[in-house]
Amino acid sequence: MNEFATLPDILKPDARSRDALLEVTDLCVRFPSDDGVVHAVEHVSFSVHANETLGVVGESGSGKSVTSMAILGLLPTYALVSGSVKFRGEELLGRSDKAMRSIRGDKIAMIFQDALTSLNPVFTVGRQIVEAIVVHQRITKDAAKQRAIELLELVGIPNPQDRFDQHPHQFSGGMRQRAMIAMAIANEPDVLIADEPTTALDVTIQAQVLDVLERIRERTNASIMLITHDLGVVAGVADRVMVMYAGHQVEVGGVDEIFYDGKHPYTRGLLESLPRLDRRNGTDQLHRIKGQPPSCVHLPPGCAFNPRCPHALPGLCDDTPPLLREVAPFHFSTCLRAEDIYPELR
């Protein structure tokens, strides 16, 4: 019996607007393994609204990417997925591969972290973009090629005519990620899931790619779900933020609320860990969250963060399973002590 089996009805953490494009409710992903069941994603609920950017933040292994894979049905068949993923009110979970095809790349498209390995090395970049177009649109080959060249130009690739016939290895890192973006927006998707799109890039290129994403959003009105572990990226681009820890969502709220008025010790710990030039605490040491993230096979009882939490209360935090609740208007946290430990900011 799972300790989270009873869930409240309020799991609509972001009722700010009703036109949710993508609605994920109580999503759980588990992987059977030799060491036991891996709880990769536990009872995650959120939605992505029209024309917004949702940032999903968390360290490696917190379940960010698995969540995005579950949305598109890209997890391996042995993954146990439960809950609900609705796109424009239609359930996506449990759909056949064939039924998912009309969604993938057309309604919901994805940009992957490593563009070098995510582009097929044996095909030209042009061919791969054309393929993305022709699987969803009835269009002649010439028109698809024309469109692909336009897309390359749109994402800021110089000489798109020549680049069209080149292979991924002839592109630089930033160019490849741009080509990936061109491929993802080929069918003007409603939702664009960007899984760590800038992680493999150096800072200058990172800024350029984020700039491209921003322009794309303005142009196509796509909603973006931006998965990253880089809080700086989120602060610059996202409208709302979801923070994940060990497969659980720990806090959801507007970007300002998360950054200036965090209601979960983990979120605050993350922010304090950022190296900052304008703050000196008397030492040259960076702040850190003590301890290690827990294994997703043996999650601690109660709040998953309690063994590392400076505010953990024995008998409460290591016992009561925390639920996501509204601690301020449109600001949700799972911390059982949110009101006690952050009162002055209410």
């Binding site: 095809r101 993938r104 994805m110 097929n120 090395p121 095909f123 993305a132 699987v135 292979h167």
Partner: protein
Amino acid sequence: MLTYLVRRILYSVPVLLAVSFVTFWGLRITTDPLLKFRNLRNAATILPIQRKRLGLDQPIIVQWWKWLLNALQGDLGVSSRTNGAVGGELIHALGTTMHLVIWGTIISSVVAVSVGVYSAVKQYSIGDYAFTGLSYIGIAMPPFWFALMAIVLLVTWPKVHWDLDQPIFYSIGLHSTDRSGIFNLDYFRHLALPVMTLVVQTIASWSRYMRASMLEVLGADYVRAAKAKGVPRRTVILSHALRNALIPLVTVMALDTAFLFGGLIITEKIYSIPGTGTYFLNALTAGDAPALLGYTLLTGILVITANLIADVLYGVLDPRIRLS
């Protein structure tokens, strides 16, 4: 590309020279070109004359050099077994062998790739386990034993059991005495068993390589990315994955060409096919040095050609190593 090919061909020249010299030297030690004169009554007078005529009194390097100069002009010497020109005999035998090589390569690669792809896509299915078991049997089975069992089970047994005038498959030669040509039933009935014998081991091992290679590629990021684009599963497997998975298989295929020529010797002998394998075996038992030298040179050239073809194929399959 052309420069690269020319360079590769030039690189293979020293290899062929070394192969021919080592063979020449080895054969001079182990065979006796004067054997047929030794039992003559006037051997004592004839032997020095013949030794001088054949140049055997000169240093081995000089003898080899003379052989090489002749070989470069197309003269591989005279077979001591048949008294015919080795060059002409080898070309003739090669024509016959090519039937086996071409069909063997086509069938091996097509079947091995299909089985490998199936096993990878349906990993741990009953079919996958069945093919895994079969391939272990195939790898473990010596070709000579397989050939004999095939003759017993597919030629002799049906003929005796169903009281046929002619067996379903033949086990001797490439054609019936009054027939010729390819793409006819007679040709197929002759070729089925030898080709089967030749391919059983290559299919078994190549399909295992293909399965492993395909499994690796199916887990690659670009396969997942192709799925995320909405590309149909079939296209993802047969276009995105297959082309990448074939690249390592080409290496294995090229390396196995030498293995193929080894298999040909046994196969041709058992099915009495007058190809290069039979020619080699006959020359070997007769101590026919010129024929053995010619055979080694030919095999060397064919193996080098196969590697060259593999290198060209790499470029076709993988643009990252395409040569400009």
